[in-house]
């Protein structure tokens, strides 16, 4: 019987986890412990529903409703002095909860505070673009779409950004294997030479653990230069490092290493 491999999460798993291991938590603090954050949270709460808020590692995390994202961002920018959106991306929780968690990392330079807005969306749910509030969201949202397939509504140029335009699949999904699916593995061969060339060029060698010193097709060693694919075994003598042929080169003065000077004084 073939070994069972879960299809919804193909990331590497630890080979051993103690059954009784309970992972500790990074401590969360109440928002009231920080005056600035408390005031900000109050302002957000006055207009929008906040499902959860806490402070973790000196930054406030606020969970909001995905429908309000555009309005919350406008509020943050216009009234609460959060003048930069430093990062925005998604986290894949499809296997566990059937959707993504999207976060927006904000920075206020006047208050010297950083804040994270988060919300949860279902897998096929679209979110509202905030690229008209913060221009930096433009590229961040494109990357989010490229990597996770999260559709962003109202975005001026919703296209892939990092992967080629004709790429299939969204690489950062947990269902996407690290070494790529079949499309990815043959992408360059298919594109340049055509599918017929697959048999000529051959599959990629993806075994990272394979180390073979005598493999002269995939490894090169200085001082042991051999031709591509030549046979090379243990007894082969080291090839001496030579910069010129012994018999000299036509029209070129032979290098005489005794004449060369080594500059030892680094101060010139």
């Amino acid at each position: 019987m073939r070994a069972y491999t879960p299809k919804d999460d193909v990331q590497k798993k630890s080979y051993y986890t103690d059954r009784y291991y309970v992972a500790p938590q990074v401590p969360k603090f109440d928002v009231e412990t920080d005056d600035v954050f408390a005031a900000d949270l109050k302002a957000i709460k006055a207009k929008f529903k906040v499902s959860e808020a806490y402070i973790q590692v000196e930054q406030m995390v606020v969970y909001i409703n995905p429908k309000n994202i555009h309005a919350v961002m406008t509020l943050l920018k216009d009234e609460l002095e959060y003048n930069q959106l430093s990062e925005c991306s998604a986290i894949d929780f499809i296997a566990a909860r059937g959707g993504f968690e999207v976060f927006y990392q904000m920075l206020s330079m006047n208050k010297r505070k950083r804040l994270r807005i988060k919300f949860f969306i279902k897998q096929d749910e679209a979110i509202q673009s905030v690229s008209d509030v913060y221009r930096s969201a433009d590229w961040a949202e494109r990357e989010m779409y490229d990597m996770y397939g999260v559709i962003v509504k109202g975005h001026p140029f919703m296209k892939r950004i990092l992967m080629p335009d004709d790429w299939e699949g969204h690489p950062l999904l947990k269902t996407y294997p690290l070494h790529g699916d079949e499309f990815a593995q043959w992408y360059e061969v298919d594109k340049i030479y055509g599918k017929e060339a697959r048999s000529v060029i051959g599959p990629e060698i993806r075994d990272a653990a394979r180390v073979d010193r005598y493999d002269t097709e995939r490894f090169a060693r200085l001082g042991h230069e051999v031709d591509f694919g030549a046979k090379f075994d243990e007894n082969q003598a080291e090839t001496p490092i030579k910069y010129q042929e012994d018999e000299g080169v036509f029209m070129i003065k032979k290098l005489d290493s005794s004449e060369s000077v080594t500059i030892t004084d680094r101060d010139r």
Binding site: S86, D138, Y193
Partner: protein, 408 residues
């Protein structure tokens, strides 16, 4: 047999010569002054750019995916390859984020060494920036001079960690090695010379007519635009925002050293150039102070946190339990608590942040790198229209983008 018609680029559907006199120009992805693999689609009216569309991803190597499949320590060398001009600053950013997550404090000597590495890396990066930008504009001499100085720093870092480019010189919880014998004296020698060298560059460039014509009032970024596009570091400071994470949210020993943050309100290429020069001087000033700090520190290099960080070599060799612990940490990896952190640091290019979401496993559940260059490339969309073709090169030059960290 090769079939030439198979090579069909994506932009083939654009008519390159149009009726309305608009020309579409493809720049890159393999252009010597694109600082890597930037591709720009420029719409031109005569010589003037009316629309620009940066196309990135030609160096996307899947680092974030790799992170999800690697234990924390295993991932550290990969961060070298992000901003490969200043590798240690990436190592440091990642290590600091993990340290915040597992909440360990690094011993003081390790902090001093990290500061030395961070600032030498900043110098290296700025020198490299000067060299390449000058070369792009046509000042070959400055390129040769700046590379000469950079090689000295490379030698120093090589003395410390053995690699010229890909340092991996910081570990989670400290640094792996103490400084080699002559490091501090050599560094001091270099720093003593540096003001002269900087003056050489400035003598060559500051009043140079060509340099000024291609730099002054070209690529002006307003304050609002810089903030809006998420710019950071020199790009933001040249536009009149005095924001340096080293000063505002100090990490490591930056609150103990005395330095100024230069900023300018011009926002053009020339302002950025002046800023880089001034930052080099400030880095030298920081380094002098850090060199003096080194002497009084006790020799511990790694933090003591047996649950997360391997014990020292001596403990490992003498105590059975430490050896076991080390074995578990190497084979299975540390398991940080459940939670998330976002830790920003000021890399030579700007705000380098690492967002880590841990679900209690030995692999990060999600690792997002906030690379400054990504946003500095994004701003080209709005910055280039209105400029002329030759300006493109000088603007790309002064944005100081590195593709390893844009595409990751």
């Amino acid at each position: 047999m090769q079939q030439p018609n198979r090579l069909r680029p994506f932009f083939e559907n654009i008519t390159f010569d149009r009726d309305d006199n608009e020309l579409v120009l493809n720049f890159g992805p393999q252009h010597p002054s694109a600082h890597g693999q930037l591709r720009l689609m420029l719409h031109l009216q005569q010589e003037q750019i009316v629309k620009s569309h940066p196309d990135i991803g030609y160096l996307h190597r899947g680092m974030e995916k790799m992170a999800e499949n690697m234990i924390y320590n295993e991932f550290l060398p990969t961060t070298d390859r992000m901003d490969y001009i200043a590798a240690s600053s990436n190592n440091y950013g990642f290590a600091l984020a993990v340290e915040k997550l597992i909440n360990v404090e690094v011993p003081r000597r390790a902090k001093v060494i990290r500061m030395l590495l961070l600032e030498t890396n900043r110098l290296m990066s700025h020198l490299f920036w000067l060299a390449t930008t000058a070369l792009d504009i046509g000042a070959m001499t400055v390129f040769l001079y700046a590379f000469r100085e950079r090689e000295y720093l490379m030698d120093l870092v090589e003395d410390y960690c053995g690699a010229r480019l890909t340092h991996s010189a910081v570990r989670i919880g400290g640094v792996p090695l103490d400084l080699p014998d002559n490091f501090l004296t050599d560094l001091r020698k270099f720093l003593d010379k540096l003001p002269e060298n900087i003056k050489d560059y400035e003598d060559l460039l500051d009043q140079n007519r060509i340099w000024k014509m291609r730099m002054e009032n070209v690529g002006t970024i307003s304050k609002e635009m810089a903030l809006d596009w998420g710019c950071s570091g020199p790009m933001l400071r040249a536009s009149g925002v005095n924001w340096d994470i080293r000063k505002e949210e100090p990490y490591e020993l930056y609150d103990e050293v005395d330095f100024d943050v230069p900023f300018s309100d011009k926002g053009d290429n020339y302002a950025r150039y002046k800023l880089y020069m001034e930052e080099m001087r400030q880095s030298a000033r920081i380094l002098y102070q850090v060199i003096d700090m080194y002497a009084g520190t006790s020799p511990e290099l790694m933090a003591h946190a047996p649950k997360f960080i391997s014990p020292s070599k001596i403990e490992m060799m003498t105590q059975n339990y430490s050896l076991q612990q080390h074995f578990v940490l190497v084979t299975q990896g540390m398991r940080p608590p459940v939670g998330e952190v976002y830790v920003p640091t000021e890399s030579p290019k700007g705000e380098l942040g690492f967002y880590i979401n841990s679900q209690g496993g030995p692999y990060p559940y999600k690792l997002k790198m906030r690379a400054p260059s990504f946003w500095h490339t994004g701003i080209l969309t709005d910055l280039l229209p209105g400029h002329y073709i030759p300006d493109v090169v000088s603007i790309i030059g002064t944005t100081n983008i590195v593709f390893g960290e844009i595409d990751r």
